[in-house]
């Protein structure tokens, strides 16, 4: 790696000029400007569009699975006929899903949603587009590294997608790729030694990890080095803090998983036994392996990433929601300092809780006492953040704009997800709930109606900055309400199914299992699959208004000024869309990020680049409570 090659290689040719971007604008062709761009805004948008496509694709995989869960063994009407043409003949013969294909769908749904959908949108897209603007920077510190990050992500994504089309289909071991299953799956007759689902999953992952590593280095350096004059640490918008901590999580948690992935790759291609104990019997025949490996080792390395990763998924959403809540309640964010402190504590603690995903491995009471304690500790800052958000609403003059709808819905949804995590923190309760639908419900409440609502909030909120136009409000609401209702119809019953003991990876949706015949609220555990599935499909339809609204508004949305939401942070001082180099006048920050409704002012918002007037200064001295 050579970080310094990212320095503008052509530095010598450039002359400092005030209208920074223009000169280059004329030189760059269409390809350099929109495809192989090094501009953080273009890269952000590229990440965003790709991420959204992956999110929809990953969701579609789940919509197919939901048929099998609600109507196990029945032929999928209409599309069941043409899916085999797409995914291959052995996936849905006669429209009926094979168990192997079901497993591929499950594994790839998780992988795609998390690593190709949410992380690219929440971290890379919003981070790239918004962070430099919010800190008043002309771009990222390493623009070429930034582009390299996007293209590494692209290669990783293509490899993951390609894996659907190799003989035997995509990886089947779940998004966690537990061993020994993943070591021995997709091998033998009918499989290519390298071009098989699981091996491609591993190779694709190496690219994705490289991508987020490059991104993380860039984000942290940018936030440290390129803050505008006067933008001290405690004047940073909370969103920037959230991205800062997220970047550290990606930077430090992903490499151990990369180590594990290299080892699994060695196990699969170089016949090592990192994760295989001696004496393995596969299909009735003993494996010729040295043994001496440990499946638990994989779990440790995986969850060492896996837990910080769940905070990678949620922290950017916290950041987005914070901006929108302050903006739409026209009030300073309540407890800014404790929010910052909490997010730092979360960042730190998330490295020492990972084994709470492994209670079933029998780690002994000392170790499990340690991890139970840290897991409970980490819920404290999460609760602080959520409470601060709720209090921020108190006494505000709330405007229910579309971004605000999503942001407000985020709060209780995240709350449900977080609170249902508490029982899981105790190994005695988790022994029962582990690997049931309860777990699925717990984390989906956080990432689906939680994070993804946060992402939608952010898209509606910053869309005018990227395009100079707003998205349509009415269709935004048509998108919001069905999504909110469906999300809850999907995930709430899963808690009940889980408490009945329904396992999260069953191919027949629990049809063959007696206890799923117990009734809850009039339906058996198994029968609950049907309303859940219908809600999932309706929610798929509910995304259509969004897709149309999104593309239509780029050209035809209502034209707005540079600061349509009357917000305070620096990105709103740049033109919409910002030119290459971002700001017409390099911004200087004179105040904190959320100076809404300052007393004694005409407007109810005071932007960060507005100097403090002498009169205001004496007023502030008299009322220190308002000074933050």
């Amino acid at each position: 790696m050579d970080a310094s090659t990212s320095l503008p290689a052509a530095a010598g040719h450039h002359h400092p000029h005030t209208h920074a971007g223009e000169h280059e604008h004329h030189e760059l062709g269409w390809w350099r400007k929109y495809i192989f761009s090094t501009d953080h805004k273009v890269i952000g948008i590229q990440y965003g569009l790709c991420g959204l496509v992956f999110l929809f694709f990953g969701f579609s995989l789940m919509m197919i699975m939901r048929w099998q869960l609600a109507y196990p063994g029945q032929a999928l009407p209409v599309i069941g006929k043409w899916l085999p043409y797409f995914f291959g003949p052995n996936t849905m013969p006669d429209g009926k899903m094979t168990p192997e294909f079901y497993n591929s769908l499950g594994a790839m749904h998780g992988t795609i949603m998390i690593f190709l959908g949410v992380v690219p949108v929440a971290f890379a897209a919003f981070g790239n587009f918004v962070v430099p603007l919010q800190i008043g920077a002309p771009d990222m510190t390493f623009p070429k590294v930034n582009a390299a990050s996007f293209w590494a992500f692209g290669v990783g994504g293509v490899i993951m997608l390609t894996s659907f089309f190799v003989p035997g289909g995509a990886a089947k071991g779940g998004w966690t790729s537990y061993v020994p299953l993943s070591d021995i799956a997709d091998k033998g007759p009918g499989f290519h030694p390298f071009l098989n689902g699981q091996t491609l999953w591993l190779v694709g992952f190496i690219f994705l990890i490289t991508s987020s590593l490059l991104g993380a280095v860039n984000f942290i350096t940018t936030i440290i080095q390129l803050r505008a004059k006067g933008l001290t640490w405690m004047r940073l918008p909370f969103f920037v803090w959230a991205q800062f901590v997220t970047a550290f999580l990606l930077l430090l948690a992903f490499p151990p998983l990369e180590a594990a992935i290299v080892m699994q790759l060695m196990d699969r291609t170089a016949a090592t036994s990192f994760f295989l104990p001696a004496g393995m019997i596969v299909n009735g025949a003993p494996l010729h392996i040295s043994g001496g490996g440990s499946p638990i080792l994989w779990q440790h390395l995986f969850w060492f990433l896996g837990h910080p990763e769940v905070y990678v998924l949620i922290l950017p959403a916290f950041g987005i929601v914070a901006e929108i809540l302050a903006n739409n309640s026209r009030k300073p964010l309540w407890g800014y300092k404790s929010l910052v402190f909490s997010v730092l504590v979360i960042g730190f603690l998330s490295f020492i809780v990972w084994a709470h995903h492994m209670w079933l491995t029998g780690m002994g009471s000392t170790v499990s006492a340690f991890f139970q304690t840290t897991t409970l500790l980490i819920s404290i800052p999460s609760v602080i953040i959520l409470s601060a958000f709720f209090i921020s609403l108190w006494g505000g003059s709330i405007r229910f704009t579309v971004p605000m709808l999503w942001a407000t819905a985020f709060l209780p949804m995240f709350g449900i997800g977080g609170l249902t995590g508490i029982p899981l923190a105790f190994n005695s309760a988790d022994l029962y709930l582990h690997d049931t639908y309860y777990i699925i419900a717990h984390f989906h409440y956080i990432v689906a109606p939680g994070t993804i609502f946060g992402l939608f909030a952010g898209i509606y909120y910053w869309f005018p900055k990227a395009t100079g136009r707003t998205m349509n409000e009415f269709w935004g609401k048509v998108h919001f309400w069905p999504s909110l209702i469906c999300m809850n119809v999907i995930f709430l019953p899963m808690f009940l199914q889980g408490m009945l003991g329904m396992h999260r990876r069953w191919y027949d949706g629990g049809q063959g299992w007696t206890l799923s015949g117990e009734h809850i609220w009039g339906l058996t555990g198994f029968q609950w699959n049907t309303p859940i599935s219908w809600a999932a499909w309706i929610m798929g339809l509910a995304q259509i208004p969004f897709i149309i609204n999104f593309f239509w508004s780029i050209k035809h949305g209502k034209k707005v000024n540079d600061n349509p939401w009357e917000a305070t942070t620096l990105e709103w001082t740049a033109p919409s869309p910002p030119p290459h180099g971002n700001f017409v006048i390099t911004p200087v920050a004179y105040r904190g990020p959320y100076e809404y409704s300052l007393p004694g002012r005409e407007k109810d918002f005071t932007m960060q680049n507005e100097p403090v007037e002498p009169a205001e200064r004496s007023r502030r001295a008299a009322e220190p409570a308002l000074a933050h």
Binding site: A3, L251, F254, L301
Partner: protein, 291 residues
């Protein structure tokens, strides 16, 4: 558009961008190798008695490679210092020396250390057969002394066709010196490769054999970690060498003439990376060669 602080430092942080960048990158590298070394520790603690081999690697050669890497860490600093003093010629020579050190290191790995392992075989005996081969193993004495038993006989496989051919009933192994004289205390801390196998041939019946494998990554958790970690480390050395070559070629002289400080910064950043690669080896060497 220019990005601020690419070459000069930002007053309140006192740093230029790439310097922060490289330290962050190295932090992630620490976690990467940290993950691999933890795996090593985990597997080693998990190993059954006799499963974890000792003393299989060539310590003198490893020591030499360690010295070469340390030397290159010195020359890269000298190269940087020469640039700071604006002495391009000295820089050029020091850089060349650094590159040569890296190349020699890789050469020793790829043409000497790695290949010889693939031609060396180990036969793991079934627990029930250990007694039968006591003359090669010397386990009675080892048990008495409280040492881990030997469960493997290694050396040169004289009839490699035996691996595939079921009609051949035994392996003929040209024994490594340890197994010729297993009770000699000098062999307690075992042999170093590459000491050539002796002419003493042991015949080991296939039905006594649990498995036979060459000393590749498939041989044991030990060799799995050895090849993976040294392989990844080697890839880092290679990357460093390639970047240094770029900085040593005439293109970089042009940068030097335009902005010598810029080149000095680049060398500093890559030098930090190089020190890190060196540091990783300082862990690899004792873990695999000595302990």
């Amino acid at each position: 558009m220019e990005i601020p602080y690419t070459i000069s430092t930002r007053p309140d942080t006192g740093l230029w961008n790439a310097k922060i960048g490289i330290w962050l990158f190295l932090a992630s590298e620490v976690m990467l190798f940290g993950g691999l070394f933890s795996a090593y520790i985990f597997l080693r603690l998990d190993a059954q008695p006799g499963e974890w081999p000792h003393g299989l690697l060539n310590v003198p050669v490893g020591t030499m490679n360690t010295a070469i890497l340390i030397m290159s860490s010195v020359t890269v600093v000298l190269a940087w210092a020469a640039l700071k003093m604006r002495r391009y010629n000295a820089y050029w020579w020091y850089m060349l020396a650094t590159i040569m050190c890296g190349v020699i290191f890789l050469f020793v790995k790829l043409y000497y250390e790695w290949p010889q392992k693939f031609e060396h075989y180990g036969v793991f005996l079934k627990p029930s057969a250990l007694e039968k081969y006591e003359q090669y193993l010397g386990n009675n004495r080892r048990t008495e002394k409280g040492m881990e038993p030997r469960i493997e006989i290694s050396g040169h496989l004289h009839n490699p066709e035996a691996i595939k051919d079921p009609s051949i009933k035994e392996y003929e192994i040209g024994l490594d010196p340890v197994f010729v004289d297993p009770n000699n205390p000098t062999n307690d801390r075992p042999h170093f490769l590459y000491v050539p196998p002796t002419d003493h041939i042991a015949k080991i019946e296939k039905e006594d054999v649990e498995r036979i494998d060459s000393f590749g990554p498939w041989h044991s958790a030990y060799f799995a970690s050895y090849f993976t970690i040294t392989g990844l480390h080697g890839a880092h050395v290679l990357a460093g060498v390639l970047v240094f070559i770029y900085m040593w070629l005439p293109v970089s002289k042009k940068l030097y003439q335009r902005n010598p400080e810029h080149l000095a910064n680049r060398v500093e950043v890559c030098g930090l990376f190089w020190h890190f690669v060196d540091l990783v080896w300082i862990f690899v060497f004792p873990l695999f060669y000595l302990l």
